[in-house]
Structures are given as C-alpha cells and as structure tokens.
Symmetry: C2
Subunit: 566 residues, 2 copies
C-alpha cells in the first residue's frame, strides 16, 4: 500500500499515513506543491519550523516509462520567498517507489541535535548526525555508505545547507553512489539544514512495492517501450555530447550569457561546447552517455576525469558550463569541472553561484576570467566566510551588497543560460513561472511550437503551453527531455489510461498541470507576489544584446495574461 511518511523534527515523531484519494493521481511537483499549498502558511519564514520540506517521486516512477525516475523536492523557498519545486535524478525516487512511499513530509525544526532519517522496508528511524553535520556531500555519502552499504541512496546537504544559505542544494546519490545529482534551485538545502536534518538514507533492499497500480500492465509496457525506442533515436546527440551540445546553438544565435549577460556570444565557446567536452572526456578516459537515474534512455550525463583518470565530477552540464564559464568569461573546462565538484560537495546551486559570481565580477570583487579567484571564492562560500555568505545568498543579495544594478534574476532567483532577449519565450517563462527565474519550467529553444524565438509574437502562448506540459512532466517524474509538448502529453495520457483501465485524455492530463500551476500561483499571491514580480529585470528590456541587438520586448500586458486559463 502506497503511503506518506510524515516526520517531525520538533518531537522526532514518524507517522505513516495512507495516501488520500485526492492525491492518487498526483506525484512529483504536483504532490509537493499541493502539500505545500495545503499545509504551509504562505507568509511563514522559509527557515522557520512552519515550513515543510516534501520529497515525492513522480506518478510514473517505478514503472518502465522512460526516464521517469526524477524526485521532486518542494518547500517555501528561502531564495524566492515563494513556492518551490526542484527535481533531481539519482536513485532516490526509484527507491522510494520500491518502498511504496508516495511522499516524505519533513516538518518542524530540531532544537539542538542534528539528525539523519533512515528509511527501509523494515521501518523508519532518526539517527544522530552530529559527527557528519559539518561534512561535504562526498564525505557524507562515503561515511554513510561505509555504515549502511553502498546500495542505499543518500539524500544529503553539504555545508551550504547546514549554514542555511539560500543557494543550498539537496544532493542525491547516483547509480555509482556519488552525491552528484542535485535538487539545485531555490535553496531547498537550507530548508533541510534549518530543520536539523543532514541526510535521508533510503534502503530498498527487499522492497517490492509499487506506487502505480497497472490495470493493463502489458498495454502500459508496450506504450512505454515504444516511447523509449523513439526517445533513444530522437536524443542521440544528447547521449553523445550531453547537454553541453546546446552551447553551439545558443552561441550561434547570440543568446549565450557572456560577461554577466552583457553579450550573447563568447569567443571561448569552442573550448566549452559539447564537442570539446566529449573529446576531453574521451581522451582522459571518462564517460559520456551516462544515465543519471535508473531507467533513463537518454543518458545525457557524463563522468569527467583528470588526464590520469582520477574522478573530477559527474554530470557536467550546460547550465554549469555557461553560468560558471562563459558568463564569467572562463573557457577552461577542467577549471569549470572542478568548480562543479566543489559546488556539489558544498551543496551549492551551480547556476545561482555562477550568476552571483558574475555579478560580483561586475561589482569589481574579482575580475572576469580569473578562474583561480573563482575557485577560491567557491571555497569561501562553502566555508561561510563573510564574503562567502554574501554570494551564498545568491545573485540578488550579491547585487545589493556590491551595488550592481544588472542582476539577471526574477523573484530573487537568477535566470538560466538562455539570454531572454534572444530566447524570448524562455524569457516569458522566467518572468511568469511561480518558480522564479527558472528555465526548466518552460524552455523554448528555436523552432519550438513553430514560434520564431527572436520575435515577441506568440511567445506568451508558447510559454503557457510548455509550462503546462512541464508541470505535467514534473508531476509524472519524467525528465524534461522526454519532450515538453502535446505528443508527449498524448503518450502520458495513454500510459495513464492503461494504468487505470479507463480512458484518460491528453486534455485531462493538461488539466492536472493547470490545477497545479494555479495552486502555485495562489500560494505566491498569498505570500505577497503580484504581477509586478512577473517581470524581467529592466536591463533586459533596455540594453541591446550584442551581436543581435535584440531586447526583450514582450509587453507587460501580455505577460499578465499568461495564466488566464478560462
């Protein structure tokens, strides 16, 4: 029987609850956002005991649906002050599904002591965490694996999380047991740290439960297998080069963030693009085509090693490469890979940190291109020096302290590696999503939905559609690369039809997405957000971006209409 585990750090209670009927078709973001919406006061301080931290595998997690192993983490965000979902690969979601756990809801706040939560088919318990509280994610994982075996999955926070920084992530171990997959955005690691929870150990040894009952299992599996096969074909380039393949695209069309979003192309782009990355990995003996979670058919991850084969980091991705690379005018992949390792170990969002460092560069704290100083600065953040604490609170606070006007952030969160002046649809998503300056909620690459990415026309409609699709995918536990579009919604409807034994239409699926989005928007409204918060920073609208000389010109009036669904 699927269940919800509710743990409270105030009194160390652990309760198992049946899944309410109304939650059965929810999972992932749909479930985390619904629980936060239902149970957290929108004006609660994000680091107070009133906030809750929710972990939920997707509706399809545990089935053979392709790349359906993502885990959603939700809370009120200390970075944005709004509702937040951030999802992550690794093995956690699958193991939770194997244990029949629909969600873990973490409540309250430990008074003095620090804790680990251990979850297995034998039960649930708190263990003391004092000895590992100050460790980075890599040592944390290593020590817990030594104690509990290397087959457990570990969700943990590094020093950024224990120091409650608003850029702190929650790490999930991958199939090799490394804590290199991160629920990166929105500072959810700080929420975990505020509660006094260092790690969750998920042991699915002997566990054989499922979350989704399959009425027509064969039918379901046939649809899932066909989808997998087509995705393997469609995503070959991602498998070969990883997400870094996008560097060439964004650079060519002039939307690659360079020098704190002051240019759209970068002279060092060839040194950090997908080809360069794959080549470097091949020469040094690393791995491309690496799956970040069980059942992934796209395998866009990689393992980056030194020339002697020693491990550097895993899952060196496009966003990290650009925000800590081109945006800081650094073209040294080895250096960027080390930054990635450091951020993963301290538990820092590489995107927000990259954006904050570039803002600090513009504020003359360090020079653009100085990779030795960036390395030192990331260590300062991890070690919570005074300077480190500033950047550890993200790009907006960094801009406030160093008086930098050009801060590329929405609702307190930095935008991603697609300049919104060129990727106008993605700009609409940054501006309007309840998640803050986020691309994963609705990234509109050239040609999506037949809209010209450089024109204002049609972007609001395109963003609305992709935001709905992506909300559905995040609810299903599916990776965005399975396709944020109507055909993928159709396949999801087929899968749900086979699972339930009654017809589910793609319109029904879209309706789920809409209901979730509306709850998230309502939460933010009650937290104090207005349409004034649904805007890009002024410089995107006034400063022409070289070399295209485009500005973001989707009107405020259009942005305000995006979620008028009726």
């Amino acid at each position: 029987m699927a269940k919800i585990i509710r743990v409270n750090l105030n009194d160390l209670s652990i309760k198992t609850e049946p899944v309410p009927e109304r939650y059965t078709m929810l999972g992932g973001r749909g479930l985390t956002s619904t629980i936060i919406y239902n149970e957290v006061n929108p004006t609660t301080h994000p680091l107070s005991e009133g906030n809750k931290l929710v972990f939920a595998p997707g509706v399809l997690t545990g089935t053979i649906a392709p790349s359906s192993g993502r885990l959603s983490v939700g809370a009120k965000s200390p970075l944005t002050g709004g509702i937040k979902e951030s999802n992550v690969g690794g093995t956690a979601a699958r193991k939770m599904a194997n244990l029949g756990i629909k969600a873990i809801v973490v409540e309250g706040k430990a008074k003095n002591n620090k804790f680990i939560l251990k979850i297995s088919s034998e039960g649930f318990e708190f263990l003391p965490a004092e000895e590992i509280w100050g460790l980075g994610n890599y040592l944390t994982a290593e020590q817990l694996q030594q104690r509990f075996g290397n087959k457990v999955c570990i969700l943990s926070i590094g020093q950024a999380g224990t120091n409650q920084m608003a850029t702190a992530t929650i790490a999930a171990t991958d199939m090799e047991g490394r804590p290199c997959r991160h629920a990166g955005r929105g500072g959810l690691g700080a929420v975990m740290g505020s509660k006094g929870l260092k790690a969750i150990i998920i042991d699915d040894n002997q566990a054989k439960e499922t979350l989704l009952d399959l009425k027509d299992k064969d039918g379901f599996n046939t649809v899932a297998r066909d989808w997998s096969k087509s995705l393997v074909e469609l995503r070959k380039a991602l498998t070969a080069y990883g997400t870094a393949i996008t560097v060439n695209v964004t650079n060519a069309i002039g939307g690659l963030p360079t020098r704190n979003f002051s240019r759209g192309n970068y002279e060092g782009a060839d040194k950090i693009n997908g080809t360069a990355l794959a080549e470097r990995i091949k020469v040094n003996g690393g791995k491309t085509g690496h799956a970040c979670s069980p059942g992934c058919v796209i395998r866009c991850s990689n393992i980056y090693v030194e020339p002697d084969g020693a491990y550097v980091t895993s899952g060196l991705e496009y966003e990290t490469i650009c925000l800590l690379g081109s945006n800081c005018e650094i073209d040294d992949l080895d250096a960027i890979a080390r930054f990635d390792y450091l951020c993963d170990d301290f538990g820092l969002d590489t995107m927000e940190i990259g954006a904050a460092i570039a803002v600090a560069m513009e504020g003359a704290v360090l020079e653009f291109g100085d990779s030795a100083k960036v390395d030192a600065l990331i260590r300062e953040i991890g070690n919570a020096t005074v300077l480190g604490r500033i950047l550890g609170q993200g790009a907006v606070v960094t801009g406030r302290v160093f008086n930098v006007e050009r801060v590329p952030a929405v609702k307190g969160q930095s935008v991603a590696s697609y300049d919104p002046r060129v990727f106008k649809g993605t700009g609409v998503s940054y501006a309007t999503t309840p998640m803050g300056g986020d691309h994963s909620v609705g990234n509109l690459l050239p040609g999506r939905f037949g809209v010209d990415h450089t024109k204002a026309e049609g972007q609001v409609e395109a963003s609305r559609l992709i935001q709905l699709c992506s909300t559905v995918q995040d609810t299903m536990g599916l990776c965005n690369f399975t396709g944020c579009d109507l055909p993928s919604m159709e396949i999801i409807a087929q899968l749900l039809s086979k699972a339930k034994g009654t017809e589910v239409k793609s319109a029904d699926v879209m309706k789920i997405g809409q209901e979730i989005l509306l709850k998230e928007l309502k939460f933010n409204q009650l937290a104090g957000f207005t349409s004034m918060d649904d805007k890009l920073p002024a410089f995107f609208k006034t400063e022409k971006l070289a070399p295209t000389n485009l500005v973001f010109d989707v009107s405020d009036e259009e942005l305000e209409k995006i979620f008028n669904f009726s």
Copy 2:
C-alpha cells in the same frame, strides 16, 4: 520671485524655473513627494540616472513660525524601493528660503567626474569635487568652509554616500557650521552619490528673498509669536534633557528596544537616559538646550564633549542612544557619542546602522555589549570592507546574509526605538506609512489622542490622524515637536490665513496632507508595493515582549483600512 533650480549631472545644465501655480502651497515633503510622483518612474532603479533627488524647504521656512527651518529631501529610496522623504535641521532650509529657492531638483548622473553645486544670490555653478570625493563629512565641511567662508551652509555626503550604501545620509551643517544634522533615513545619500554630487554649498550672503508672501504680516507674526511662547513652556523638558528624556518613559512602560528587540526594558537605562546625558554634558562642559536650526524655540539638541572639553558630537539623540545603545546592550554614553560622530562623519543613518548591528549581533557576528567591536564595525562600514558593505545596506540585507529571522524592519527599513508591541499606534505607523519602518511620520506616545498605547483599539484611527498631521508639518517645514495634532493644525491654518489673506481652515490643511499621502501611496503601488508590505515582521505578532508580555495585535484587516479616506 520664488524659483525652482533644476540641475542635471548628465550635461551639467542648470535651469531656473518659476514655481508652477499648483506648487505654491506646497513645500517640504509635500513638494518633494509631488515632484518625485510627477517626474520619476516608480520602477526606476533608485541609483540610476532616472531617479531624482529633490531638496525643499517648508512652506513656512523663512518666516518667524517656530521651529520651521526643516529641509525635506526626497527621492525613490535605495533602502525601501519606495518614495522617500527625510527631513533635517541645520541652516540649509533657511538659506534656501533667503535665496527664494523653493526646490533644488537634481537629475541625471555624472559620467566620470564628481561635482559640487554652488548656490548663491549671484548664481549657480558646478565645481569639481574630485579632491574631496573620498572625505568624511567633517573634513568636507572644513575644507569647503576654508574656501567659501564659514557662513555658507553645506549639504554633503560622506564615504557611505560616495559608496552608494543604502544607509547613507545627507549631512547639513548646523549653526556652528558642523555637518552633524542628517537627512538620515532611506539612503538618500546614496542617491546623491550615484549622481556624482558630493556637496551643495548654499551661500545666502546678501540674499533677502522670501518664499511665502505675507499678506497680513503683523497678524501672521502675532500668531507665530504666541505659538512660540506656548511651545517654550510646553517643551521645557526637551530643552533641558534633549530627546533622551524619552528613555525613562519607554523603559518604564517596557517598550525600549533591548537586545535586538527581544526585551522592552534595559538594566543600563539609567546610564543612557536624559538625566545621565544632561549631567554628563554639564560636567564635561558641553551644551544642552542647543538649537539645531535657526528659529528653533524648542532647542532639544546638545553638544557632547569629552572631559577635557574637546568636541565629540552634536545632537546626540534618543534614537541613536537606543538603537546603538540599549538595542546593542551598550550603556556607555561616551561610546555611543563616538559612534554618533563616526556615523555622522561617514554619513550613515545611526538608526539603520544600530538596527543592523543588533541583527549582526543576533547572527553571532559580534557579541551584544561589545562596544569596541561596534566602533570597529562602524569603521568597516565607512571603509566599505566586505563586512562593512553588508551592514551598510541595512538591517534587512544583514539579516539575509547572516540568516537572522528577527529583523525589525518594514518595507526594507528598520523601525525606530519604540517597540511596536507596546507602542501599538506607532506600530501601525511603522506598518502603513509609505516611508518604511518610520516613527517620525506618526509616533504615538502614551496618552496621545486619549488612546491606550498598549491596546489594539483605536490605534488605526490615531495613526491615521497623526500621519496626516505629520505630513502637513513636514510640508510646512515644521519640526514634529511643534505638535502633531489638531490644535497645531488649527494654528497652521491661522498662519496660512494671515499669509494668504483669505481664510484657510484646518480641514483645508488636513486635505493637503491627505493629498500628499495618497500620492506617496500611489507611487509605491506603482513601484510594486501591496498591502502585504503594510505589515510588521511576524515576530512582533508572535513573540511576547518581556516584561509586559504584549504582542502586536492590531489586525491586518484594520491596517488595510487605514487610508480609506472617503
């Protein structure tokens, strides 16, 4: 002929404009807020060239109306992000009135060079400021007085202003030529710094203009003299002990901010109260009963000296004594006087800095009561070290960086030295004024308007009334101590009647206040403020304040109704 001087740092143009008819009954806050409302885009970045900085003497400045020499400074605030007026004593307002200058409007932003603006009856000119750009206010004033004579008034910014910190003030020299009077709140010094303007020299030698035409001069002067006489009687205690006399009141009723607003009384209160201050000044040979501006009949200022008679600071006031004293658990008046000097010299708001330091103390950056560290920390702010830059952005940024939840601020600005759990009407003013957590807009001491200060009942009505009265006073150029109440509105109406030669009723006067408040509220609304911003921090509502165990319990619904004038 009264005129408006419009200077633009973009092209160094200086224009003289006649006063538009609709501005004739406006001055001070009424005029600064109207000009900002009419001319500044509410979404402009406060430190960008689109912001304007307006200086305006009051409607009554230059007449013999008592204590009518206050200068209003207005802009969009870098601290609150909303409209701001901060007013100051000293000789500037009177000298501007003598020159017939209704307002100075500073626009644009110097590209590379830095400037001084010199104003006299002979004309207006920009002078280079490079040599004094990095100096504190005291050396700035000294050097400019050596050059331009010691009778000029100097408005200047210290290092906090040139570094564009959101706690930066604008200093005005007093009758002794010392830059010890400050337009303290809202970071207006940063706006001046952002424009590349270091100082304004006002030379009224030979000037004999007036701002307000007196149709019935004798009648006006009779009313003014009677008012002066009654104020001399009524404010004897303020004259004798200064504003520090309030320490005993707030401490006795349990509303004196102590240890970052965690207690309402302070064991060291006897060492920092009005008696202690007057005694210390008397023993050392300083001065009480000192007037901060020409024509002041209340004379609540003082000159604080060392035992050898050497000058320490002037105008050591209640807010400074409490926010840098009891709120930091420091009971050493000499130390607080030195903090005051340092803040005045660097050009820092003693209130915001006191609040920020106490927040840093709660965040374990330094210990409560450590006055040597406070001294060092203020110097770090002035010298713009990394740590100094954090505190230099105010209490909210300090709380963000050091993860302190208990930040006593509204709309980004720290509240004053009246705990709103005990002074509930003042709490309503903090929450609802368009100015941020400000007391000067509507401070409700015990017994005001017959309302029990500890009860929720009647506070919203009392705050509305006093906010209207205080808007009027700030518009007239009157010190708040002339009485923020209906009788003083009646006297103002009489004065305006005599001046205009037609009957002005106190209802007309109140109407002026209402119109100004509504413009300020509208500006903030267009800047993105909502009723969610009209609230006190949660801890004031949930944490009982010892020793009274009161919480702030005026409901949100009541707060929202405060400015429904119709």
